[in-house]
């Protein structure tokens, strides 16, 4: 575009002779990005800084009294509050249970549904539908299915002679139940990412390998899997972050119970901030969560870099 116009670098407009073209262009671009930038500063950077500040205060929302307490909220969470470590433990169990299960299932589904055959779109839609289903409706239906004796799941189990547990009322089973129902709800998203990645791999590679006598497993292990690497990394990072941030699902299914068996970090932060109105403490916990998730992400990136 610049080539079509006369060179105007020294051209100055008569009404604003002090502005060079470069300055004018810079101003224009700032003006163009200013709406997004303003939104980013006001709704993202601002609250982020505010949370850091809040986390250093003891602030009761109702009385509106805030006192600066330094790092007290942090040291209380890390060293004096036994609930905190219980909550972290739950969050880690949730992530360890959810991430591999979700990824394995997503990859299997993607491998099965990445080809072109009659009805494939219907199958993809079926597996993706839960992603767009309301979280509340999802939780209500599963709560029905997972009832103690009258629940559909336990009746099915009973018909083959298995006495199923009261899924959502026993701490360990409740954790397993929330993990599995969450995986079923969210797996469609990762499946789509994997399908896209699989379809981007040229077919020639597999065809060539087959000509050389490679088995199906060898093709997957030595060709497909390495080429899926970048996608796998992205999926692992977002799924891990998502699993640490899980809130709505826990809120609807178990409310953190039974016996605090599914009390995860995001729900605990909600409790402190929005039920006890202890905003300072909740902010400190949110900062801790931020650091934990960031460290995990960096760790995964480093791991990936070392792989390649």
């Amino acid at each position: 575009m610049a080539g079509a116009l006369p060179i105007r670098d020294t051209a100055r407009r008569e009404d604003a002779p002090w502005l060079t073209l470069k300055m004018r262009e810079a101003m224009e671009s700032w003006l163009f990005i200013s709406p997004t930038l303003a939104g980013f500063l006001i709704f993202f950077v601002g609250p982020l800084i505010a949370v850091v500040w809040y986390s250093l205060t003891e602030w009761n929302l109702l009385t509106q009294q805030a006192t600066f307490v330094g790092l007290d909220n942090y040291s209380d969470a890390l060293f004096r509050n036994p609930d905190f470590w219980h909550v972290i433990r739950n969050s880690v169990i949730f992530a360890i249970g959810l991430v591999p299960l979700n990824m394995a299932l997503a990859l299997s589904l993607a491998l099965a549904l990445s080809g072109r055959f009659a009805g494939v779109v219907i199958f993809r839609t079926v597996f993706f539908a839960p992603v767009v289903t309301s979280a509340v409706a999802w939780a209500i239906v599963w709560k029905f299915l997972l009832q103690g004796e009258a629940g559909f799941i336990n009746q099915m189990l009973a018909s083959i002679g298995i006495d199923g547990p009261n899924w959502l009322r026993e701490p360990n089973w409740a954790m397993a139940a929330v993990i599995v129902t969450r995986v079923i709800k969210m797996v469609g998203l990762n499946m789509i990412l994997y399908i896209a990645a699989l379809q981007a791999i040229p077919r020639d590679y597999a065809a060539a390998a087959r000509l050389e006598g490679a088995s199906g497993w060898q093709i997957f292990r030595w060709i497909i899997w390495p080429l899926l690497g970048p996608t796998t990394l992205v999926i692992m990072v977002i799924t891990t972050i998502g699993s640490f941030k899980v809130f709505d699902h826990i809120y609807q299914m178990t409310g953190g119970g039974p016996e605090n068996g599914t009390l995860v970090l995001a729900f605990y932060i909600y409790q402190q901030g929005f039920q006890f109105f202890d905003v300072g403490y909740a902010s400190a916990l949110a900062m801790i969560m931020f650091v934990v998730v960031m460290m995990l992400t960096i760790f995964q990136l480093v791991l990936r870099r070392r792989d390649t």
């Binding site: 009385t63 039974p258 409790q271």
Partner: protein, 414 residues
């Protein structure tokens, strides 16, 4: 579109009036009902307030009950305080202690013919401190037993009202009847309030039997869950859930209102669900226990917020809403705390779903009842209790040990 236009016009008008020299004002009043009949009545109060203040309008703002306390707190914290509003009983001590409620005593004393002494003393417990009045209770609604008459008939049993008339409606009978109902009809004998007795309504599940047994969940800053009366009462409930299998157990559904259970415990506002239920029903008092009759009451009050900009006017409106006439007008929905209204025939005949002799049950319970326990730290106490109560509701639980654990957890907060 039309409403948006209307709203905009109102806003523009309101702004115009505010900037003008007229003394026009708008009071913002938060509530948790969206029921049209309720709103019609409330708007009626605003209309009649114009007799004295022709230029004052009242804007009611509905916040869903589940989020009410939370959203209200955020409005107060955000510097956007409403002028007045409803407040739930469990939030009352927290709000009063935080100093966000205005003292209504001067306005109530000034109001002509108000007669504050007409309010039943026990009903004011949560809302007064010395001479100060932080709220006026507008709904003082006792918990009653709702029963499914069809299921009682099917099981060949006398209904709770018949038993109460003979003086036999006690906890032992309640247990016996529940089991017989379950065995004869296959439906659950009893369901806790809204099926939430193991989750959000723990207090509503444990409180009535504990009080019937002569205990309390706490009193004078001392936990009462581990006292012998409470342990005995909870053991009985535990037996009903796991041995008799007559109470809907944790993790199961047995909705009373759709015929899944023969009895439940609730307030009369739920009677509005009954016409759709499709079975014969009635309400009866709570069963008595070793502690005699001990009705339990749920409450809500009207308060004025200290951070509001029109406190005096708002307080005057609260006084207007709670005059004898207006309390009587509201009684069909919200059982009153005014003795004069409670004793009147108008009250027992006010609800067209519940026959007068059963409304007497409600009136009796209000005059004899005690409100649900509330505490400055209610949310923390409930959160601390929850995991220990979860442990209680297992088939093989040691009830006494679980209740001890509840006390260990909540005692520091009391």
């Amino acid at each position: 579109m039309k409403t948006t236009m209307k709203r905009m016009t109102t806003t523009v008008l309101a702004l115009g009036m505010m900037s003008g020299s007229l003394g026009a004002a708008e009071l913002r009043f938060t509530i948790w009902t969206g029921n049209e009949a309720h709103l019609k009545m409330l708007n009626g109060f605003a209309e009649s307030f114009k007799a004295k203040h022709p230029d004052v309008t009242v804007k009611y703002e509905t916040i869903p009950p589940g989020d009410y306390t939370q959203k209200l707190t955020f409005q107060l914290a955000g510097g956007n305080a409403p002028d007045a509003g409803w407040l739930m009983e469990d939030a009352a001590p927290t709000f009063a202690a935080a100093g966000v409620l205005d003292n209504l005593a001067p306005a109530l004393n000034k109001a002509q013919g108000y007669d504050f002494a007409d309010f039943s003393k026990p009903a004011l417990g949560l809302w007064t401190a010395g001479d100060k009045v932080y709220g006026v209770p507008f709904s003082t609604s006792p918990f009653v037993i709702f029963y499914n008459k069809d299921l009682f008939d099917k099981a060949g049993l006398e209904d709770p009202n018949a038993l109460a008339a003979k003086g036999q409606w006690n906890m032992a009978k309640f247990q016996e009847v529940s089991k017989k109902l379950k065995d004869a009809t296959g439906k659950w004998g009893f369901e806790f309030k809204d099926g939430q007795g193991y989750d959000t309504r723990i207090m509503h599940a444990l409180m009535p039997p504990i009080r019937a047994a002569g205990g309390d969940v706490w009193a004078n800053k001392q936990c009462g869950f581990d006292k012998p009366e409470a342990v005995a009462a909870v053991k009985q409930l535990h037996d009903m859930v796991f041995k008799d299998k007559s109470i809907v157990p944790p993790g199961e559904q047995g909705d009373y209102f759709s015929g899944g259970s023969a009895m439940t415990i609730n307030q009369i506002s739920r009677a509005s669900l009954m016409p759709k239920a499709g079975f014969k029903w009635g309400i009866a008092p709570l069963p008595t226990g070793a502690g005699g009759e001990s009705p339990v009451i749920g409450q809500a009050g009207i308060v004025v917020f200290s951070a509001g900009k029109q406190k005096e006017l708002a307080a005057e409106f609260v006084a207007h809403m709670t005059t004898k006439d207006n309390v009587a007008a509201a009684a069909q929905f919200f059982p009153p705390a005014r003795k004069s209204v409670l004793d009147s025939d108008a009250f027992t005949k006010s609800n067209n779903l519940i026959p007068p002799e059963q409304m007497k049950v409600v009136a009796d319970a209000i005059s004899k009842g005690k409100v649900l326990p509330a505490h400055e730290k209610s949310p923390q106490i409930l959160a601390a209790m929850k995991p220990r109560v979860d442990a209680l509701w297992r088939a093989n639980a040691d009830v006494e040990a679980s209740l001890k654990a509840v006390c260990t957890a909540i005692q520091p907060l009391l």
